[in-house]
């Protein structure tokens, strides 16, 4: 009897999990499906799940009209660059907060997070003026800096909670064995924290890849990443849903594939601590 209940419950949770998963995935699936339709079929009512003329025309048109590789390359550089720079700052910051906390550590952590509570548009003008002043408009360096600063609070928080779960005794033991600060961070802490660092890196890449306020407002032709590529297919007067879908599919494909291959690290990093 007890066994039957468990099975039933298991079935129910599995079905629920699949249901939620499919619900979340559906918009992406629909975008991909629409990208293979003609514009007329894209707006067909009732919506077409099958039985439409499968066409690659939208991809051809998008390829002809936009330099996809340039947008892609900009996205890779900006997401990668801001993540590397962010990790270089976030690891030492999180280390000091986790292992040598001061009276103000909690306040600093909260203060860092509070910067995320301001809508981005609130600082559009100050940031734009700084960018004009330093000649950073429409440069990848400028975007790397801004996105690094935007994601830094989250990176530090993630690493901090991660490091907190590493017993201080292990580091103490290393110190007693004669390890210096550099050795302690590089050879003792880092290997133990690899899963946490990996998931932080992945999250930072995803956040930077999808960031669509600063990447649209601070770029023009040269440094524009894939977010600008998608935006260029939205139209105030005209229906180009199929082409917009094709552009979106091309923009999300790389990050979707990266996420697919690294989902184990990502899930682990987001749900578990370092030492369990």
């Amino acid at each position: 009897m007890a066994r039957a209940v468990t099975t039933r419950r298991k079935l129910a949770t599995t079905a629920l999990a699949w249901g939620i998963g499919l619900l979340i995935f559906f918009p992406i699936f629909w975008t991909i499906l629409t990208s293979f339709k003609t514009e007329a079929q894209a707006i067909n009512n009732p919506p077409l799940f099958w039985g439409f003329d499968f066409t690659l025309e939208n991809y051809t048109v998008v390829q002809e009209r936009s330099n996809y590789m340039r947008f892609l390359w900009n996205s890779v550089i900006i997401a990668g660059g801001s993540t590397v720079l962010g990790i270089l700052v976030a690891v030492p910051a999180a280390w000091s907060m986790a292992f040598v906390p001061s009276r103000r550590t909690k306040d600093i952590l909260l203060w860092m997070l509070s910067t995320k509570m301001l809508p981005a548009v609130g600082v559009l003008y100050p940031i734009s003026l700084l960018f004009v002043q330093f000649g950073l408009l429409d440069t990848r360096v400028g975007l790397i800096l801004v996105l690094m600063l935007i994601n830094l609070p989250i990176m530090v928080w993630m690493l901090y909670t991660y490091f907190k779960e590493i017993p201080g005794e292990i580091l103490e033991a290393a110190r007693m064995d004669g390890a210096g600060l550099k050795e302690e961070i590089l050879f003792v802490l880092t290997p133990m924290a690899i899963p946490g660092i990996a998931s932080t890196v992945l999250l930072s890449i995803i956040l930077a890849w999808n960031e669509a306020f600063w990447t649209l407002n601070l770029t023009a032709a040269r440094a524009a990443p894939l977010t600008a590529f998608i935006a260029s297919y939205s139209s105030p007067e005209g229906l180009f849903y199929a082409k917009l879908s094709a552009a979106s599919t091309m923009a999300i494909a790389p990050i979707l594939i990266l996420g697919w291959f690294s989902q184990k690290q990502l899930v682990r990093g987001l749900t578990f601590g370092a030492v369990k």
Binding site: E39, A40, I43, N44, N45, R65, L124, Y125, S128, L129, F131, V132, L137, D138, L216, N217, A220, A221, A224, A228, A231, S232, Y233, S234, S235, P236, E237, G238, L239, F240
Partner: protein, 434 residues
Amino acid sequence: MRLGKPLVASTALALITASAATAQTLTIATVNNGDMIRMQGYSSQFTEQTGINVEWVTLEENVLRQRVTTDITTNGGQFDIMTIGMYETPIWGANGWLVPLDGLSDAYDVDDILPAMRDGLSHDGTLFAAPFYGESSMVMYRTDLMSAAGLEMPNAPTWGDIRNAAEAMHDPANDVYGVCLRGKPGWGEGGAFITVTANSFGARWFDMDWNAQFDQPEWEEALSFFVDLMNSYGPPGYATNGFNENLSLFQQGRCGMWIDATVAASFVTNPAESSVAESVGFALAPDNGLGRRSNWLWAWALAIPAGTQQADAALQFIEWATSKEYIEMVAANEGWANVPPGARTSLYETPEYLEVPFAQMTLDSINAADPTNPTVEPVPYVGIQFVAIPEFAGIATEVSQEFSAVYAGQQSVQQALANAQALTNDAMEAAGYR
């Protein structure tokens, strides 16, 4: 010494490649509308003719406005040419943000630009943007459904005619709705439509002392009429329908009528996109017997921001893109129905173009719009579906949100008008008009 010659040669070569690499490039900000996409395709011909390269930054309309405004006000200098509309041009021109277009050549024939467009894109008589294409609004209706209902659409209908036609064609059981109109919040979406509707009912945004007029009976009459019309004969969920949503509904044959931008005529009559291409008729936007029709005036125009270093090359491009020759080139390659409409008088004197079914009605609609005299009662502002002051976009977006809440059944007409009255007067007071 032996290295001398190769060194000189390679330096020369490097200099040549360097200068080739820094050949002049114009950066143009634009939106993704059909006519602009076509222009991008042809811009390689401009490069061939002049040696000037062109880089396109295509953005979503609202992002474009925000992006371009930030760039101008911070002197970012990212763009050499910007695509802007009739709302921004006079305001930005007055602020000194745009380069006056007074260096246009004789061959360009600036007097050929439709007078309504030229007036709307000027400030104090100086032209600040050249229209790439222009539009008004008109009624597009299903000729097959109208004749099935035994009705005929007058060339210049009243709102009463529209209501009767909507009632006759309304057939929700077969997924056909009498009339599709914009209800989506946003000053350029539903806000524009309800403003022109109100104009034809004798309402206005402000009196001569900049007092909001939403507490006047004309506004209540206009808004109540619209809500009742749409609740009775409109598609479900019309509170979120804008241009593109209604275009999609009409093309699928789900609207008896659609009153919107004249530029839509070429989409709904294109058999490749529209299932009703063969049975679309056109009429002037309706009035209410008060001498003002509910049609707007708009242009997508090219302007040169004051921060550019390449004003001369930019002017060259604008001349090319908005010239008579450009229109002829598009006509020769893609047919007259696909040329950018509503910008030049000569286009409407071309016999081939007048054979296009919607050409004459587009011209009549544009000519029926008078931005300097948009309402029954006098107003202190210029603009038909907008008020050409910088504060308007923000205020009208909020007001249109109040109205959309009525369309969605969340508040009453009276409540929305009271809120609109209060918020508009507050904003105008804060801005120093009152």
